[in-house]
Amino acid sequence: MVTNTISVSETPQVLYALRRADDALILGHRLSECCGHAPTLEEDMALANIGLDLIGQARALYALAALREPSLEGGRANTEDTYAYLRDVGQYRNLLLCELPNGDFGRIIMRQFLYSAFIDPYWRAMMKSSDVQLAAIAEKAEKETAYHLRYTSEWVIRLGDGTPKSHDRMQAALEFLWSYTGEMFDTDEAEAMLQAEGMIIDASAIHDGWRTTVQTILDRATLTLPQSAWMQKGGRSGRHSEHLGFLLAEMQQLPRSEPGAVW
């Protein structure tokens, strides 16, 4: 039977790969939404570039998930495209941060900065994974995310310390996004198992370094770290905002309009 929604056997390894893949895909998708609409041609290219890097990372991670997923009934296996196009919103495992609507360029930059300041050291640490495939993905990704972090840091500083208007917009972006940053550092039992095997690192170990990076850049940007300590979560277990459903409706429309077709 041609199916239009897949089920996924979420072993810890598969779940891990899907979470990271979904982060990259959804954030990459959000960036791709701006293509042709950025404030300058240079920034249009840069955002597309980051988007492309993220979509590439997502593909590598989905491929890994497919490889590690126990085979389905009838020997069928999932693929990068079944994961991306045939899962419902509740099956997505990305951070809430990644699915938030773009808003203005300032919010796009701030979201990317907050994420890159986490994911770049994360992938750097993951280069030592006992899993050679993950280590290879990490090595490639880290080169890319190092650039994302540099690029967004520069813009956070430039806009934070630009005009009063740009300063206010960046501060507002930061306040809007802040409560979504905590989820990056969460781990759960599934991940703990993989940590114990040395396959993955503990994301919470990145927190202090992240905080230092963020504080340093915000200081140079004359922006103030929000006080609020309350952090949102839910994305990792499939509890998403209302925004993701709209994104998926658009993204998945074509493959789901014709089950089994090749595009």
């Binding site: 293509c35 005009t163 014709e258 595009w263």
Partner: protein
């Protein structure tokens, strides 16, 4: 007059004119107009394809399309840079675009209705663009010629991608094949119009030819394009929407039916299906980005004065 004669001698001997060389004002103006129109076409050309990035039906297609639209932005950048060597600022040129005073390729005023349009644009529109642009790689103005070499290389890659999308659809389900045929029906005639009015009506051409900015006439290029494309359509098993299409027994050229030049005129005049949308999108991006550009300028100025101090 002596300068002018020297200039024409250089042109005739296939010398490249460079930014700092003397050139007639009309040559400069012609180039600025042509290069900036070309740059605008790349930037506006991002929009119809950009509309499908978020709906591309596989991750491979999504990445390829995003990369392609990004390349178009890059082409716009090279071309504006080439125009800047002729003392035309990018900002002023883009203002002309947004005010509706500058032209861009009329093809981008047609909408991308389905995914097959992405295939059709790659195959036909990029195909026509390459046909137009390959001779420009030998244009007498060096910076433009060099920009075109880079552009052409990327576009032939895009063209192959587009053809491959069409092939996948043409070999797919009945619905996919119908989608491909429908896209071909809609994009075929506008693609032929991309080469500009028939030679009998074309302005500027004579002088441009003498200056080796233009090396083939509109109709010559159009014929080359048709001759290249007909066998590709046959290979795809799709039908070109032209009942008059037939191969000339003597020349082997594919003779095509009459082009609706009234439609072309209307699209150029601002009455295409998407002219209004395209300019509105560009203006919106520009207006919404104003605070960013202002902030960047303010920051840069402050940094400069700090360094100076």
């Amino acid at each position: 007059a002596e300068k002018m004669a020297n200039f024409q001698t250089r042109i005739d001997s296939e010398d490249r004119i460079e930014a700092n060389d003397w050139m007639p004002e009309a040559y400069r103006r012609t180039l600025v107009r042509q290069i900036s129109q070309h740059a605008h076409s790349e930037i506006i050309g991002q929009l119809p394809e950009g509309a499908w990035i978020t709906r591309a039906p596989s991750l491979r297609r999504k990445a390829a399309l995003l990369a392609k639209v990004q390349d178009e932005c890059g082409h716009g950048l090279y071309l504006y840079a080439a125009a800047e060597t002729l003392n035309a600022s990018r900002e002023a040129l883009m203002d002309q675009l947004m005010e509706g005073k500058a032209k861009y390729s009329s093809i981008f005023n047609y909408p991308t209705m389905t995914w097959a349009d992405i295939g059709a644009i790659g195959w036909l529109v990029d195909g026509a663009a390459i046909m137009n642009q390959i001779p420009l790689c030998r244009c007498s103005y060096g910076p433009y010629a060099r920009a075109m070499i880079r552009v052409c290389k990327e576009e032939s890659f895009h063209q192959r991608q587009g053809f491959e999308i069409m092939m996948t659809l043409a070999k797919g389900s009945a619905r996919q094949k119908a989608m491909a045929q429908d896209a071909l029906n809609r994009w075929w005639w506008p693609s032929l119009m991309m080469f500009g009015p028939p030679d009998t009506d074309s302005q500027h051409s004579d002088q441009s030819t003498r200056w080796k900015i233009k090396r083939f006439s509109n109709d010559e290029l159009r014929q080359k394009f048709v001759d290249a494309t007909v066998p590709q359509a046959q290979f795809l098993g799709l039908t070109l929407p032209d009942p008059d299409l037939r191969q000339d027994e003597v020349t082997g050229n594919w003779m095509y039916g009459e082009i609706d030049w009234e439609e072309f005129k209307q699209v150029i005049a601002g009455n295409g299906p998407c002219n209004q949308d395209r300019l509105a999108s560009r203006r919106k991006a520009h207006e919404e980005g104003a605070w960013v550009r202002e902030a960047a300028a303010a920051y840069a100025a402050r940094q400069a004065s700090r360094h100076a101090a």
